[in-house]
Amino acid sequence: MIWVGWRQQRLETAIAAGVLLALAAVAIPAGVHMASVYAHEHLASCVGNAESSACGLATGSFQTRFVGVNLLFTWSTLLPAVAALLLAAPFVLDLDSGTYRLFWTQSITRRRWLAVKLGFGVIALAAVTGGLTVLAMWARAPLDHSGGRMGSSAYDAEGIVPLAYGLFVFGIAVALGALWRRIVPALLLAFVAYVIGRAFMDSWLRERLLAPVKSTWQLAGQHGPNLDRALVIDQFLSDKSGTRIATAFRPCGSTSSGFLTHTNAVCAQPLARGAHAYMTAIYQPASRFWELQGIEFAIVAGIGALLVLLAAWWTQRRVA
């Protein structure tokens, strides 16, 4: 069954690996170039150096210059889902086309067939998502060093979360495939479920996985926490206790990427009147990266693993 399992999924594995290689072909030269610029302009020393406006400008222009790399990795976060759909296809296709009847009437148990088909899919998926993680963590190093990796294009491409989403989509696809035995709707619906799940996690649940940190500081004179690398959930003018002051003030830049939080403070300053103006930030500090990844992995990969088991159980017991 080992050879058969591999024979049935080698095309899909090759396509997924090909997409990863194409990504690497763009990301590796870009990463090398970016790293040399980062070193050449001594930008590493600017991290956390909020006072220096020269640093702020240089970091800002670096990040603007390489926004394309950032965008590339934002799109690369789709790779785990695409790979999962590809690698779930051989399993669902056997159920759809009826060839499972051929396999289950050879001299092997249904359990063995399930173990090979689903096991090989998961192994190949882990390899592809692992490749993405390594590539992203290497190529994005300068961007992560200056801007942190709490934004989606880093967070969803690095660490263990890509594997989690891969398993999530794989689980949905094989479970729908087992119940429905129609490959096209099963894979389409799995992708739709992925988009909804990702959007929900990225925009709402992730910042709530751990109780965020709330920090209030006086605008005149005091320096707030360094939010360059943090996941900023909210930032506003407040009184001393951190209660929001109703104001027309709006942050000048994005608060989620952590890129432009310097500018927020700069923007706010002319508006701040006297020593009574305070700024409050609610955020997940960059140091929580692995903790958040661990929790998110447990939830998302856990759902995926349960769905894979459901597919296996259903196929073992119910499919004829």
């Binding site: 069954m1 080992i2 050879w3 058969v4 024979r7 049935q8 095309l11 056997d94 086309s97 009826g98 060839t99 009847r101 051929l102 396999f103 289950w104 009437t105 050879q106 001299s107 092997i108 148990t109 249904r110 004829a320």
Partner: protein, 298 residues
């Protein structure tokens, strides 16, 4: 004589509908049995139950003395199964399809498989998806035969084939039977084909067995009676009337004779298998239940 396939009170229900109900059968080793019935009669259900693809709702089914669901590795290596529409992985070449058989079956006979492929005039490099329906059926049969099975179960293997491919496929089956004496159960609704290669018959209709027995005995036991128009009352008291038809002046009865028919009022004719099968399939009344012993006593 032991039974290659034996069922006891076997039933399979889908929702509120019994696909197979109260089925008692014993198919003797070495026989070639035709499983006949209209679509939805339960033929596929019976064969899938035999090989463990589905589980029975009631009763038991054993192949070579084992339950395929409970002990798949006591049954599957000895059973060649060709499912309806003979599914094969379309992306595989023929060589890869044979490798699949070799990988998944401990008793695989590579020489037999290669010989059959050569005899069929197929190239090992051809992809299964590019073959005709008849060729795919032949490849699926090759896969089943090269397991060196003791029992061969074929579910509507020729339904989608043209007459020539049908003939060639059945010749392949017949050749395997004469070479190795395996037990074959073959479902179909094309009766003429079955008559050529089968020695036993099971008629299934609406989930129940209508007639079970050796074809020889079935032919000997049925007679067509014609006589002046009358009600079949007298005959029906002694024999089972399977079908009656009337014209203005004449009555025709197809009966299963219990002993000889001695009535001077009736003319007796022999009746062929197709007519018997059609009579049973159109027969709505009390089902002529036969005992499994009728089959076992070949």
């Amino acid at each position: 004589m032991t039974a290659a396939l034996e069922t006891r009170a076997l039933g399979k229900r889908y929702g509120s509908n019994w696909a197979l109900h109260e089925c008692d059968l014993a198919i003797p080793e070495g026989s070639v049995t035709a499983l006949v019935g209209p679509n939805g009669a339960g033929k596929t259900t019976l064969l899938q139950l035999a090989v463990g693809l589905i589980a029975p709702t009631t009763g038991t089914i054993e192949v070579l003395g084992h339950d395929a669901r409970a002990e798949p590795l006591h049954v599957l290596p000895h059973v060649g199964f060709v499912a309806q529409d003979h599914p094969l992985p379309r992306r595989f070449t023929i060589a890869e399809t044979l490798k699949l058989g070799r990988e998944l079956n401990p008793t695989w006979d590579d020489a037999l498989a290669e010989r059959r492929i050569a005899e069929l005039g197929l190239s090992r490099r051809q992809r299964v998806g590019t073959l005709s329906g008849g060729q795919q059926a032949q490849v699926a049969l090759t896969l089943a035969l090269a397991k060196r099975p003791k029992v061969l179960l074929l579910d509507e293997p020729v339904a989608s084939l043209d007459p020539l491919a049908r003939r060639e496929f059945l010749s392949g089956v017949l050749q395997a039977v004469t070479e190795s004496g395996i037990t074959v159960v073959l479902s179909s609704h094309i009766i003429a084909d079955l008559e050529r290669i089968c020695d036993h018959l099971i008629i299934l209709s609406r989930g129940r067995t209508q007639l079970v027995g050796a074809i020889e005995d079935i032919l000997a036991g049925h007679r067509l009676l014609t006589g002046p128009r009358t009600s079949p009352g007298g005959v029906a008291r002694v024999h089972d009337v399977i079908r009656e038809s009337h014209t203005e002046r004449q009555t025709t009865l197809l009966v299963r004779a219990n002993g000889h028919v001695y009535d001077a009022d009736w003319q007796l004719h022999e009746v062929d298998l197709e007519e018997i099968v059609l009579a049973y399939l159109g027969h709505d009344g009390g089902v002529a239940e036969t005992e499994p012993a009728a089959v076992a006593a070949r």
